[in-house]
C-alpha cells in the first residue's frame, strides 16, 4: 500500500491516541477511587478526541473517502501504527499511571513542537492536545510520586511497573524515512529532539517518587510500521466487533 508520509504521520498520531484512550476507558467503573473513575475517563476522552481529529485529517489527506470510523474499525493489526507502549495492558493502577506518564511526558513536548508545524491542520490539533497532555503529565506524575513514596507495597508495585514498561519508551524517540522527510520540511517534530525534555520530566518525577530509573535494556520496537505485541489483536477484536459483524451498517 502506497501512502504519503503525511498520511502515515497523521495515522501514527491518531493510533497512539486511540489505543491509549481505549486502554484508559477500560478502567471506568473499576478504579481504586471514584475520583479516579472520573479522571481516567477524562484522560480517555481527551485521547479519543485527539484520535478523531487526527483520523479525520488523515482521511482528508488520503482522499479515498475513509473517515474516522473506517480508519479505526476496518484496519487489521498490521496496519496500525501506534507504539507498543500504548497497547500494553493496564496492569495494576501503578502500571497504568507509569505508562501514562511515559507517554504523556513525550506527547506533551511533541504537541508543543507541532503547534509550530508548517502544516496548519496538524498545528491546530496539536494546540488543543498540548494543553490536555500537560494535564496528563501532571495527573499521572502526581500519582507516580504518591505511589512511589507511599507505602512499601505501592513502592514495589510502582518500581515493578517502571521496570517493565521503561524499555518501551525507546520507541517513542525513533524516527524513520517517513518522518525524516516531514521533519526536514518543518511539518513533523523530530522525536530525538524531544528526548531531553522527556528525560528531565520523568527523571524529576522518579526521583521525587524515590523510584530508580531502570538501566537501558533491549527494547522491542516496530509498532509504527505495524509490528505489534500480541495485545493489540485483542483490543481490535473488542473494538471492531460490531463493525465487523454487521458490515456496512450505520450506528
Amino acid at each position: 500500500m502506497h501512502e504519503t508520509p503525511l498520511f502515515s504521520y497523521a495515522l501514527r498520531l491518531a493510533d497512539n491516541a486511540l489505543i491509549l484512550g481505549h486502554r484508559m476507558s477500560e478502567w471506568i467503573g473499576h478504579s481504586p477511587v471514584l475520583e479516579e473513575d472520573l479522571a481516567l475517563g477524562n484522560m480517555g476522552l481527551d485521547l479519543i478526541g485527539q484520535a478523531r481529529a487526527f483520523y479525520a485529517y488523515a482521511g482528508e489527506i488520503e482522499g479515498k473517502g475513509r473517515d474516522e470510523d473506517k480508519l479505526a474499525y476496518l484496519r487489521d493489526a498490521k496496519d496500525w501504527r501506534n507504539v507498543l507502549l500504548v497497547e500494553q495492558p493496564n496492569g495494576d493502577f501503578a502500571a497504568t499511571m507509569i505508562r501514562q506518564l511515559l507517554f504523556a511526558a513525550y506527547a506533551h513536548p511533541l504537541y508543543a513542537a507541532l503547534t509550530k508545524s508548517k502544516d496548519a491542520s496538524l498545528a491546530a490539533i496539536a494546540a488543543k492536545a498540548e494543553k490536555e497532555m500537560a494535564y496528563h503529565v501532571r495527573h499521572s506524575g502526581e500519582w507516580v510520586i504518591r505511589l512511589g513514596d507511599g507505602t512499601e507495597e505501592s513502592h514495589e508495585r510502582a518500581q515493578a511497573a517502571l521496570d517493565e514498561l521503561y524499555a518501551y519508551s525507546t520507541e517513542l524517540f525513533e524516527s524513520d524515512d517517513v518522518e525524516r522527510a516531514l521533519i526536514d520540511a518543518g511539518i513533523a517534530a523530530d522525536p530525538a529532539a524531544l528526548r531531553p525534555e522527556w528525560e528531565r520530566t520523568v527523571n524529576h518525577i522518579f526521583s521525587e517518587a524515590t523510584l530508580k530509573t531502570p538501566p537501558q535494556s533491549f527494547a522491542q520496537t516496530g509498532g509504527r510500521t505495524g509490528r505489534h505485541s500480541e495485545h493489540l489483536g485483542y483490543i481490535l477484536a473488542d473494538m471492531q466487533f460490531l463493525q465487523r459483524t454487521y458490515p456496512g451498517a450505520a450506528w
Partner: protein, 332 residues
C-alpha cells in the same frame, strides 16, 4: 429511578421535641429548604441518608452495565459519548455522596454498607447489557424513568439533595435523548439492527416500568415522605407519566412494546397497560436477578484491588505533612 429507598417503612421514630418539629414542618410547608445545620427530625435525616446514598450507589453500580460496552462501541462518536455518559454517572455518584455526607454519614461508611449488602441500589442494574441496543434502551427507558422520578426531587425539601438533582436532571435528560437517538438509528437501520432494538425493548420495558416501585395500594411507605416533601408524587402517578411519554416515542420509531394490554384510553387520555410481574420485581430486589452477584463482585473487586492505592495516597499525604512540619521547625 432510585427512589426504591422510599418504599421501605421505617420504625416509628422516637417522639422528638414537638416545638422543634412543628417549626421544622412549618418551614417545609412554606417550601423553604432545610440545610445541613438546621434542626431536623431523626427520621427525616435517616430517610434522606438512605435515599440519597442508595441513589449514589445506583449511579456507581449503574456504571458497570453500560461500561461493558465502552470498549465495543460501534463508532468513535458513540464511544466518546458513552464514555462521557458513564463518567457523568460517576460524577452524579460523587455529588450525591457529598450531599449525603452533609447528613453526617461518611462516604466510606456508605461504601461499606453497599459492599456488605446492607444498602441497596436500583434493581434495574441487575439486568445484563447483552447487545449494543441495550445501551440505547438504557438511555431511553432507564434514564427516561429516572428523569420522571428525579424532576420532582429537584424541589425536595432538603437543599443539598435538591441542588444536586438539578444538575443531575440536566445531564440525565441529555442521556435520555442520546439513548433514544441510538434506538432510532437502530430501528431505522438494517433488519438485524431493528431486531436488536426490538429485543432490547422487549427485555428492558418491564424492568423500567418496575423502577417506580410497588403500586400505591401495596406500597409500604407512609405518607410521611410526602409530608416532608421528599417525595411529591406517588409511584403509580410517576409510572403512568413515564408510560404516557414513552409509548408514542417507541411507536414513532416503529417498535412494539411487549405488553398486549397496552392501549390508549380515550376517556382517561392515558395509556392502559398490563399486569406488572411483581414476583420478578421482588425476586430481583431480594438478590436473584440475572446480575446481582456479578455487579457486587465487581464493585467489591474494584474496592479491594484499589485498597493499596488509597493507602498509598494517605501514607504519602502523611509523609508530606510531617516533612512540611519538620521544615517549618527547622526554619524557625
Amino acid at each position: 429511578m432510585y427512589t426504591q429507598a422510599l418504599n421501605v417503612k421505617d420504625e416509628p421514630a422516637a417522639a422528638g421535641d414537638p416545638v422543634l418539629e412543628a417549626r421544622f414542618q412549618a418551614h417545609v410547608d412554606a417550601e423553604l429548604k432545610i440545610e445541613p445545620n438546621d434542626w431536623m427530625p431523626e427520621g427525616y435525616r435517616k430517610t434522606l441518608t438512605r435515599q440519597i446514598s442508595q441513589h449514589a450507589h445506583s449511579e456507581i453500580v449503574g456504571m458497570l452495565p453500560e461500561g461493558n460496552w465502552i470498549t465495543r462501541a460501534p463508532t468513535l462518536r458513540r464511544k466518546a459519548a458513552l464514555l462521557a455518559k458513564v463518567q457523568d454517572e460517576g460524577g452524579h455518584g460523587l455529588y450525591l455522596y457529598s450531599a449525603a455526607e452533609t447528613l453526617g454519614t461518611s462516604r466510606e461508611q456508605m461504601f461499606e454498607q453497599l459492599l456488605s449488602g446492607k444498602a441497596k441500589y436500583s434493581s434495574i442494574f441487575n439486568y445484563p447489557t447483552l447487545t449494543w441496543a441495550d445501551i440505547g434502551a438504557i438511555g431511553w427507558l432507564v434514564d427516561g424513568a429516572a428523569i420522571m422520578n428525579q424532576i420532582p426531587l429537584c424541589r425536595c425539601s432538603y437543599g443539598p439533595y435538591a441542588r444536586a438533582m438539578i444538575r443531575i436532571c440536566k445531564e440525565e435528560s441529555f442521556h435520555q435523548r442520546q439513548g433514544y437517538e441510538i434506538m432510532m438509528t437502530l430501528a431505522r437501520g438494517t433488519p438485524e439492527q431493528k431486531a436488536m432494538a426490538q429485543d432490547a425493548l422487549n427485555r428492558w420495558w418491564w424492568p423500567s416500568v418496575m423502577m417506580f416501585g410497588p403500586s400505591d395500594s401495596d406500597s409500604q411507605h407512609s405518607d410521611q415522605t410526602m409530608r416532608w416533601k421528599i417525595k411529591r408524587f406517588s409511584n403509580d402517578d410517576l409510572r403512568q407519566k413515564f408510560i404516557d411519554a414513552t409509548v408514542p416515542q417507541g411507536h414513532f420509531i416503529g417498535l412494539e412494546f411487549p405488553d398486549k394490554d397496552l392501549k390508549f384510553n380515550e376517556e382517561t387520555k392515558h395509556w392502559d397497560f398490563g399486569e406488572i410481574d411483581w414476583t420478578e420485581f421482588k425476586r430481583v430486589i431480594a438478590g436473584d436477578g440475572p446480575c446481582n452477584k456479578q455487579r457486587m463482585k465487581q464493585r467489591r473487586a474494584a474496592h479491594d484491588n484499589g485498597r493499596w492505592v488509597r493507602e498509598a495516597a494517605l501514607a504519602y499525604a502523611e509523609k508530606r505533612r510531617n516533612r512540611e512540619a519538620a521544615a517549618k521547625i527547622a526554619a524557625e
